[in-house]
Amino acid sequence: MKLTTQQIDQLYLFTRQHYVEYYDLQTELVDHLANAIESEWQQNPKLTFDEVLNEEFKKFGVFGFVDVVQKRQAALGKKYNRLIFQHFKTFFKVPKILFLIVMTFTVFLIFKTSIYSDYFLRAITVIYFGFICYKFYESKKIKKAQKNTNKKKWLLEEIINQNVASSPAFIGIFHILMQIILYAEKYFLNDYWIFSISFLIVLFGILNYILFKIIPSKAQTYLEQTYPEYKLENL
């Protein structure tokens, strides 16, 4: 006996009720449960749909789908980090490395020659702080808007568009910037220090460019690669 379309929809609802928000994972679990129910029916055709479903759900353990969802998040987080690293590496190869060198020396010269280098550093920090606040606000807005529509949710899409600004890593970065500002007088006396700080700032700028510009602009490709069903659903 095969499941009806209605019963499949019921399974989708069941996964949502058990805290599986993401469509790709829902689809996989729905197919799994459907297979399990169909094969159970071959042996015990008298059992009802709900009885078999509950029996199969129990096999996932006391925490249900929670563990599967968490591990999926971890796996995709890792994939995202790998994407960042891949882009980052290209800045250490010709031709992009030229940009890295030129920018580092430009920032170095500004710090070295300008009497306002201290203010320059502070301005960067303030502007960046504002930028992150804006991104955070924007991501909240997207999340809220999405909640009100019935649009399907994709975990990787959420990681790309929303989680960046709320990442705790940014607090660490501000901490480093504050330290540099506090001890600027000491650091700016030494050329090696100025050079290192310039290099770090440029690297940091590149990282942000990758996070907020390059990866989001290629999001469609990455999503289609990760989720073959993404294409089917968005035709």
């Binding site: 095969k2 729905v30 197919d31 094969s39 563990d67 591990k71 999926r72 989720y227």
Partner: protein
Amino acid sequence: MKNSQLYKGSLNTIIMKLLEENGKMYGYEITQKVKLITQGELNITEGALYPALHKLEAEGLLDVEIEKVDNRMRKYYKLTETGHKETVNRLSELEDFIRNMQSLVNPKPSLEF
């Protein structure tokens, strides 16, 4: 899974080996195949299988495909090129492990004292 602590470390290798033999497979199919081969002795739990599949996919060892079957979508997994190479490594590692375990559990009588 039966005596899960002992089998846990080999789950990824089991999955990769099955995919190497069968081309593409979906989650439920893998659990059933393992049950069939081991005559019901080894039962991969759902809670362990999917995280393992997703991890292998994120590592670039597996690729996914979607097919519409009956009235639902089915996600198939298959080995990537790197996945094929890695399967060979992991299998030889597992065989070494089995051999070493065997000689530890059933030591051959030695001539030296």
